[in-house]
Amino acid sequence: MVSLPETLHQLTAVLGELPGIGPRTAERLALFLVQAPPELTQRLASALLAARERIQTCRVCGALTESQPCALCTDARRDGTTLCVVERPVDLLLIEKSGSFRGRYHVLGGKLSPLNGIEPEDLRIRELEERLGPEGVREVVLALPTDVEGDATCHYLARRLAPRGVRVTRLAHGLPVGGGLEFADELTLSRALAGRQPVA
């Protein structure tokens, strides 16, 4: 059996490390790329390098950005008294798309997960606490997934933030139970935001 040339084999292996790409797709992509116009692979390669080099996480909110702090954190028109806590940077984009939130954000970077060894110290909770006073935050809206770990993280945050004198709320019910924000459409999401309730 003839095997792939070494460089092609390596390309396939790297592509296969990407999420959602199985061995067969990886091979198909690799074969496509080595036969595509050189100009395309050139653009792809430089786009990859540039993006990887310039994209960083905002040191204030944890969103993906090219500048420090990010545009959302520096936008004076945003309401700094309301902070929306999300699990991942992509959740922030989902809420922005719904167009129904005018406050600022804080990306937690995960949720409590004892089974995966994720403890409070592994999340950006201290950073969150440090923002409350200086930014004059009055309400923290928790927009975390509705699965067990997301809900437990909400309970945890509500307890931890209680002595800080901020109102802690979470999205109203109506989001798909057990899922992340990506399962909710924009209308559902803006309704859930509008109907947010104090965490019990």
């Binding site: 409590l112 004892p114 403890e119 067990v148 770990e149 437990a152 931890r160 057990g178």
Partner: protein, 364 residues
Amino acid sequence: MHLAHLRLRDFRNYARLDADFGPGFHLLLGGNAQGKTNLLEAIYLLATLRSFRGVGGAQMVRHGAAGYFVGARVLAAGTSDIRLYWSPTARSLTLNQRPVRRLTEYLGTLRAVVFCTEDLQLVKGPAARRRRFLDLLLTQAHPGYLSVLQRYLQALRARNALLKARTPDPAALAGFTAELVAAGNEIMRQRRELVPRLSALTRLAYRRIAHDAEEVRLDYAPSVKAHFAEELNRAAERERALRLTLLGPHRDELRILLDERPAAQFASEGQKRTLAIAFKMAQAEYLTGLHGIPPVLLLDDVMGELDASRRAGLLPLLERAHHASGQVFMTCTEEQWPAELGRRLQRWQVRAGTLRPLPATSEG
């Protein structure tokens, strides 16, 4: 509800099978190791997505084949087309040509109750068997129960992982405790509601089959006495010492009493067998009452274990099922059984992974 068509590809010892079934009573006849139980297993798999033999997908793939396919057409209020494919690297489940995203949307398409020799463990075995029975029945009754159960198990596993840590973070533990309590209370509520009804139905079925004077009673004995959160609070120290969640629905017991004495210790073997069947009959009756249509009954090797008088007691119960446009599949090694069943039954010959209809019986 009935299974109108069954299609198997590379499932156990069936390379290819396409068979049509009407409502009513189907008797699967054949020698040992011909594929009778395998057929029931396939039907049960469609209903619950599990094997009643408690095995995983790999064992059901025909030796040497890449994967199995089990498909069916089910007639209830409407027609449902089910296709299930499993291989070690790929699996798919479609309902009416659309992929099934959530199990709760699928479960209930085909409801089945299986009677098999392992049922004896319901009476003799550990409490986990009886909890699984309750959970399966509640899932068949209300598919939403499964989501709550899964949440509970996730919270339980997370909580146990926290308790294993040298110094569990109390606030994190409280977060998962809140989840455990919320899901746990809902599970207990549903179990508490179900058991008295199940108890009455089991007693009735037992009486019909056994013609005995003993009274059967099922008693729900939750490990939480009154207030889940408070009792967990009181157990906190012991939990930290043992590094385990000590209270909750995962520790519930369903007591089976025969004349108020624990059946596992005091019932005779014959009484235990009868109890196991009565349990399953009660499951079927409960589902029939709830949904207005009887589930498909799958009986594997059950008759051989009963004496003539108990068989005679069970028969009318089975016949009831097929009068109500239900469907019964029953396996049998020899045709010693059951002339009493009457003529309205379809007989099938099972031989080495093939199925052939037999002509109607002529004996009276």
